[in-house]
């Protein structure tokens, strides 16, 4: 067991840090949260900057440890988040890389890396959330096209995306997981309506996407027809333990800020609050170590594990605890949306739900790691 980084890794870190020190001050001002075109421009601009500096590939080709360092350092330096590049870099891109044809890779990968095209994700549907395989958006073949009708939900950046990685049902008679196909849908195709979806935090980070006989060329299908479930899962399982690196680094910073705030406003003297923060410190130290553990295992094995469910179960809960503690530090100010941490507290509520509820994650841990039988 070794927690020191190799000379090579430390070198990567040092060069990255130095580069960030120069690159970040040159960034344009951050757009406001509801300025979607501005956000697209900003996020793509940052991706282009990374590309030019040779860091664009880090999510795809780099060793997990290198990726960990990249995510840790960019978060520490306050660099922009992956933002509008999320789906392209972290899901659609890797899927195309793994399952696409040469022509598809040539068409789609480079624009993602260069920060030229934005992807969004059309997986969830109103009636297919935890049970994703229940999706009902239909597609049927018509000449060289698929014709798609249905609706998708929880789609980020739909307003400004160029492409949507879309799961559709092409064989309604097949078993649930069998009749699904993966398509790359151009977002400017006729028949697409995007409606912003307001969350309980008051913002419209997500959208609903309604599809009314949208034509998608069959050449945009990745993988075989009706093989979309496997195509998608290949990429989901690509996760190498780095999904939450930046967030854990950020949570540890927030915890320090909470301690300072509590000392400033006198609440630090309450042992109940102080020890609660101490337990969170223990928690996030451990979550950081668990991240390093999962990354090291992934580096060594090359085979992605499902330890991600263990991590997500604990982390999503810990994040909610963190912001509940923040509310106690703030006192009355916890009701003021203009104070730091208050909106984060609202956002934290989604963590035990999104990307697989805690209930689903516990099923996964119990059945796939512990080998307990599936319920009847």
């Amino acid at each position: 067991m070794d927690l020191t980084y190799t000379a090579e890794e430390e070198d990567f870190r040092a060069r990255l840090r130095e580069w960030l020190g120069k690159a970040l001050p040159a960034l344009p001002p951050k757009p406001s949260p509801d300025d979607w075109p501005g956000r697209r421009r900003y996020d793509l601009g940052w991706q282009r900057t990374l590309y030019d500096a040779g860091y664009a590939h880090v999510h795809w080709d780099a060793d997990p440890t290198t990726r960990l360092i990249f995510l840790e350092e960019t978060e520490r330096a306050g660099a922009p988040y992956v933002g509008a590049n999320f789906v392209g870099l972290l899901h659609a891109g890797p899927t195309i890389a793994a399952e696409g044809t040469d022509a598809q890779r040539a068409r789609w990968l480079e624009p993602i890396l260069r920060g030229e095209e934005v992807w969004c994700q059309g997986f969830s549907e109103p009636d297919a959330g935890s049970d994703l395989a229940a999706l009902r958006t239909r597609a049927w073949r018509d000449g060289d096209d698929y014709v798609v009708s249905g609706s998708k939900i929880w789609t980020s950046h739909a307003e400004v995306a160029d492409w949507c990685e879309l799961l559709v049902r092409t064989d309604p008679t097949a078993p649930r997981h069998r009749g699904i196909t993966w398509l790359a849908m151009p977002m400017d195709a006729p028949g697409i309506t995007v409606r912003p979806l307001r969350t309980l935090a008051g913002s419209a980070e997500f959208a609903e996407v309604f599809l009314d006989e949208v034509r998608v060329p069959a050449a945009h299908r990745v993988g075989a027809e009706n093989d979309g479930w496997r195509v998608t899962m290949v990429t989901l399982s690509f996760e190498r333990g780095t999904a939450f690196v930046g967030e854990v680094v950020a949570c540890r910073r927030v915890l320090g800020e909470l301690a300072r705030e509590a000392r400033a406003n006198g609440r630090w003297d309450d042992p109940v609050l102080r020890r609660r923060l101490a337990l969170l410190e223990a928690e996030f130290r451990a979550l950081w170590r668990l991240t390093q553990w999962n990354v090291s295992e992934a580096s060594a094995g090359g085979v992605p594990g499902i330890g991600g469910s263990v991590f997500k179960l604990r982390y999503s809960h810990a994040r909610q605890e963190l912001y509940d503690a923040a509310a106690d530090v703030l006192g009355d100010a916890a009701l003021d949306l203009d104070r730091p941490w208050v909106l984060d507290r609202l956002s934290s509520l989604s963590y035990t739900i999104a990307a697989g509820t805690s209930q689903i994650q516990r099923n996964i841990v119990a059945e796939r790691i512990l080998g307990l039988p599936k319920g009847r």
């Binding site: 070794d2 927690l3 223990a282 451990a286 390093q292 553990w293 307990l372 009847r376």
Partner: protein, 298 residues
């Protein structure tokens, strides 16, 4: 960064596990419960295997390994519910003659308070070896005889290595609790299926594993860094994983878990005993709180 077990470390852990499976299996455990005494022969065998001398330099006749290896060995001891003042004897190796070899059994009395295995031990560390005024308790754990000593002088901070090795034992016990719960959930049938097929039981087991794995990351990392704050975090998480793990294992076991014959209560009682050792609870919490505030200016 290669934060995973090396082949040597894996082999070391497996070696201790094999030794204990051979010399302290479930039958031996239950026999010890009915007749709690230290198995001096096993103790010497552990000494011969390097359990106590693990961290002593080779120049002093030790194995010359580090804290990570010690943590792995103590995790196995905790998993097997091996009785005896293992931590104190390990810490005394090289300092108290015979400790490294498992010939001398050393317990610790710190500055007073609870003392484990006082009567059976050959040497008592702390309180200048003065154990007058020691009163025997009727110990809740059938495998840990306890005495209480009057407290002396100002209490000093807990020895970090002792805190960490206790955390390692707790981790092992938590692991065993998870294993027992899962095994029971797989085999016990009610309502026509293994109870592990019911979400309520399934989710108890999942939560058990999560607590174990989070504690494991903390304990192993603290073994690598040896930092007091890392050790405090490891101890808090391992204490919780062991105590809650044993409690929830008992819940999975149902009525059978409430019997003396099932091992679950032995896990819980030992976990309770270890939580009372120096460095637990409030002590580690306040250490971490101080560290958090000090580091908050970073």
């Amino acid at each position: 960064m290669r934060f995973r077990l090396t082949d040597d470390q894996r082999a070391l852990g497996q070696g201790v596990r094999d030794l204990l499976a051979r010399r302290f299996d479930r039958d031996a455990l239950r026999a010890a419960v009915e007749r709690p005494a230290l198995d001096r022969e096993l103790w010497r065998e552990l000494g011969a295997a390097g359990f106590f001398a693990l961290r002593l330099p080779e120049t002093e006749g030790g194995v010359g390994l580090g804290l990570p290896e010690a943590v792995l060995a103590f995790e196995e001891a905790g998993r097997a519910l091996l009785p005896g003042p293992l931590v104190a004897t390990h810490l005394a190796a090289g300092r108290v003659p015979g400790a490294a070899e498992g010939e001398t059994v050393v317990t610790t009395a710190d500055t007073g308070g609870l003392v484990e295995w006082l009567t059976e031990a050959d040497v008592v560390d702390g309180v200048d070896g003065d154990v007058s005024g020691a009163v025997a308790l009727r110990s809740v754990d059938p495998l840990t005889p306890l005495h209480r000593l009057p407290r002396r002088a100002g209490r000093t901070a807990a020895e970090p290595v002792a805190v960490l090795l206790t955390a390692a034992e707790q981790l092992g016990t938590a692991t065993r609790a998870c294993e027992l719960a899962v095994q029971h959930a797989r085999t016990r049938e009610q309502f026509g299926q293994p109870i592990g097929a019911f979400q309520a039981v399934k989710h108890l087991c999942a939560d058990l594993l999560v607590r174990v794995e989070v504690a494991r990351a903390a304990v192993y990392a603290a073994a690598v860094t040896a930092g007091p704050a890392d050790i405090a975090a490891a101890r808090l998480l391992a204490d919780e994983a062991a105590v809650r793990g044993a409690r929830e294992c008992l819940q999975v076991y149902g009525g059978m878990g409430f019997t003396w014959e099932a091992d679950v209560h032995l896990l819980l009682k030992r976990a309770w005993v270890r939580t009372r050792r120096a460095g637990g609870g409030t002590e580690s919490e306040e250490l971490l709180a101080g560290e958090l505030l000090a580091g908050a200016g970073r």
